[in-house]
Amino acid sequence: MKAANCTAAFFGSLLAASAMLASGARAEIPSSEAYQLHCSGCHRPDGSGDARIVPSLRALAPLLEVPGGRDYLVRVPGVAQAPLASAELAPLLNYVLREIAGAQSFVPFTESEVESLRRRPLRDPAAERPAIP
């Protein structure tokens, strides 16, 4: 872990490279396990959520195709404020989109993209959602 951090710091200007290295530091934890531990308690193991209090994750794929949707996926509180480093959060988000939401082809989120977006968490995601087609 320390070696990975030092390497990432050394190549700090190369964001893509540092993202790969930082992700590699946590690669031992499968995203399926991270989903269990950080998401499934509320969104449930299959991502279907609860009709009354927890939104489903199974219909997220269309958001990737519309303006503002990609940003919204990271800026919602559950993602933006998750107690995870962006290097862990990006592969977890990609896992949810691919395995839970069934998104077939999309540009995977990178650590730097997640890091940038989560700095601007949504204050009222329910109010912002209708603005996204």
Partner: protein, 188 residues
């Protein structure tokens, strides 16, 4: 009035001649035994023989094939109770993984990890509340390994997780093993 008294006396004396206190006791006994045997009648058996209800898709499927999974699930120090806060369902008519009859398992819950002393491995545990009845009141257990304050709400065992059930009345808690963990949860 005296004719009424005389008539009643004749009836009472006749009753005393025809019956005994022992027969009275016998009839009482027959009544109570009969009442207690009602659940054994075919009606009750028919419901017991019906196929088990399908697994509730709202809750995680427990993975219980754990080598060396030994311990008393009615005890607070049972390994998978490492972060439970409430009454153990195993003492309330259910088990460490099933809700007592008449209660519903909340689908929304919190997830943590516990170390199984038998194999020294960490397992992902889902702490689901059983809801729909008042407090069980037996086997209260408050262990907080990895528990966080309410501001970190999805790792907090102080929340009434019955919010995800039809009834918000908390009865007891179960601890489902949903998988093996690569490492203890980050908060430990």
């Amino acid at each position: 009035m005296s004719r009424f008294d005389d008539g009643f006396e004749v009836w009472a004396r006749g009753l005393a001649r025809r019956t005994s206190r022992r027969s009275m006791l016998g009839r009482f006994a027959a009544f109570f035994v009969g009442a207690s045997a009602l659940p054994l009648l075919p009606v009750a058996r028919a419901s017991a023989d019906s196929p088990p209800e399908p697994a509730n898709p709202r809750v995680p499927a427990p993975s219980e094939s754990i080598p060396g999974d030994a311990g008393d699930q009615t005890k607070c120090d049972y390994w998978r109770h490492c972060a439970i806060d409430g009454f153990l369902c195993a003492c309330c008519g259910g088990s460490a993984t099933t809700c007592p009859p008449g209660t519903e398992m909340s689908a929304v819950t919190w997830i943590g990890t516990c170390t199984n002393p038998a194999d020294k491995k960490d397992y992902v545990i889902s702490y689901n509340d059983c809801c729909g009845k008042g407090f069980c009141g037996r086997c209260g257990c408050n262990r907080n390994e990895g528990d966080r304050p309410e501001y970190h709400w999805y790792r907090s065992n102080d929340i009434n997780w019955c919010a995800g059930a039809q009834s918000q009345s908390y009865h007891c808690s179960v601890a489902l093993v949903v998988g093996q963990a690569t490492e203890p949860q980050p908060e430990k």
